[in-house]
Amino acid sequence: MRPETLKGHLDGMLLAALEPGPRHGYAIMEVLRAGSGGQFDLPTGTIYPALRRLERGGLVVGTWSEAGGRRRRVYELTPAGHHTLDAERGTWRQFSAAVTALLEPAPRPVTS
């Protein structure tokens, strides 16, 4: 799937990837990749600016951690992030139901 297709949905997916608990950037990318069955082929480097944007908006909070001599920035959902994720889910369900209704072929009338 092309990155342009994901435009507008990336923030919600990042928030969803953080819902189970704190993760660093590469772990979040692995969640997205595994969760989409490899469909989301974003350049991994573009995840990091999106995480910083969410942090600036107060939806996630980032802290530095160091393990095995490697420094990672670990992100965690804030209460505002949980709230936004719930709202994104509601919006997505409405949107996807409407698009599915329009794109799916209508059942052909039964002729006797």
Partner: protein, 244 residues
């Protein structure tokens, strides 16, 4: 000793195989990032951690160290693309920092000039300080001074409001905050110029009325801010242009 955020682990020691490719890539990304050095260093440190995780994942998959590094770099994307993606965030951080600095230093510099004015007044004529400015030959400069201070103050406040938590509700216009921060910086610089004109006119007409030490301190503070504020404003404009 704490390692700086952007520094690779074990700086000075030879890098493990493949890691030099990662460092070269990070250097290329870093060279393209605009904005404050500290924030850029944090970004590079974060990217390094992710890239090395990716290298490890490819090595676990059976690739050699150089091949794993090449694959990880390819997965992260072209340096130019990464830098462009970070650009708006860095521009907002830069604008916010400039605006906050101006809001903190503005009252301090105002206080220094007020002290100089009051001290000069008490020493010369024993009249209240609010009459001091009106008695100056260059008193007309008070109007541009007030306009410059008002411009700097309101644009700095707007910049701070537009670069904080509110960003999640505001339209995505990353060029706005660097522009308003630049106006705030130039506004502060214009206020300093107006203060220097006032000082020069006082020195020309009635040099004996000035309290030398407080006036010199205020002038030094204003000169420093004039230099730094105009430089920061130019940097904001440069960053803004890169977002075009």
């Amino acid at each position: 000793m704490t390692r700086p955020p952007g520094a690779p682990p074990g700086c000075g020691r030879p890098l493990p195989p493949g890691h030099q490719l990662v460092e070269d890539y990070l250097a290329e990304v870093g060279a393209r990032l605009p904005g404050p050095g500290r924030e850029r260093a944090g970004i590079i440190a974060e990217l390094r951690g992710g890239l090395l995780d990716a290298v490890d994942a490819y090595r676990d998959g059976g690739l050699s160290a150089p091949d794993a590094a090449t694959a990880a770099i390819g997965e992260f994307g072209a340096p130019g693309r990464i830098a462009v993606a970070f650009g708006p965030g860095l521009a907002l951080s830069q604008a916010r920092r400039v605006a906050l600095t101006l809001l903190v230093t503005g009252p301090l510099i105002g206080l220094l000039w007020a002290t100089a004015a009051t001290a000069s007044h008490i020493g010369s004529r024993h009249t209240p300080p609010w009459q001091w400015v009106g008695a100056l030959p260059g008193s007309l400069m008070v109007f541009p001074l007030a306009a410059a201070i008002a411009t700097a103050l309101w644009t700095a406040l707007f910049t701070i409001a537009a670069t904080g938590r509110a960003t999640r509700w505001l339209p995505d216009r990353p060029r706005l905050a660097p522009g308003t921060a630049a106006v705030a910086g130039f506004g502060a610089a214009a206020a300093d110029i107006a203060l220097f004109v006032l000082l020069a006119s006082q020195l020309t007409v009635a040099p004996g009325t000035l309290a030398a030490a407080p006036a010199a301190v205020a002038a030094l503070a204003s000169a420093t801010r004039l230099f730094l504020a105009s430089r920061s404003a130019r940097h904001c404009l440069t960053t803004r242009a890169l977002l075009a």
